[in-house]
Amino acid sequence: MADALNGGDTLGLVLAIGIPVLLTVGPLAFSAIFGSIYQKGKRTKLLEREKQTGRDPINNLSRPTGDKKVLSSSLMWESVVIGPSWWQMLLGKIGSLFGGRLNAYSETYDWARREAVQRLRESVSASNFDDVINLRIETSMMSSSSKSKDRTAAMEIVAYGTAVKYEN
């Protein structure tokens, strides 16, 4: 270090500091930039899909509303496993030092839930059912297999309900 400074070897100094900084910040910057682009793309797609099917045929009442006759019914479910990006996890960790709202996490999980419900809507209308009653949404964390190295933080969301077909 002293040699480098004395000799004016600034290139060496830049490399000595630059490479470690690049190695630590680089992946995070990559995660922040590409993660936000990727997730934004998924979200706009989800919004389009929600528009296509409409937000309607789903509720969590225990019996069908109105006095329409039910022809058939069946249990249907859809699930999604989703994880925040490294950048979001870092934001979450910093945020949890101060407490309060963790936008990075709540956003990811909010969208994951909408995705699961949307998938249920799509598979229900694909199987020619009219409505879903008694919708339940369940969330569970997936544990990581090794504590130190595994950086995956995944959450599984299942949406399930009874799909019904009415007599017309």
């Binding site: 039910v70 925040p84 990006s85 199987s127 339940r136 544990s143 950086r151 933080a153 019904v164």
Partner: protein, 111 residues
Amino acid sequence: MTQGQVQLVVSNTETIPGMTIVNSLGLATGSTVRAKHIGKDILAGFKNIVGGELKAYTELLSEARNEALNRMLADAAARGANGVVNVRFATSSVAGGAAELFAYGTAVVVQ
């Protein structure tokens, strides 16, 4: 993804819409424990860089849940039921990297 066996009516409501329950035959359960594949684990770790859905896990857990559900249906069918009502799912992580998927409901005879 629906139930595996067609002859059973499955519902997560307390009654089956449009049908009447004649007889209750007790609790039907089905469970399975699945572990993550190490290769998929590593790939999922990379996918975590950008965040979003981890498709490998979604598939794995869907498969496992289907199996738990089919076991529950087999249990119900073995009791002579033709329907299962009030089905609930439960997931818990047992050991590191493994998840238990559990499906339970009340086996019933419906008309």
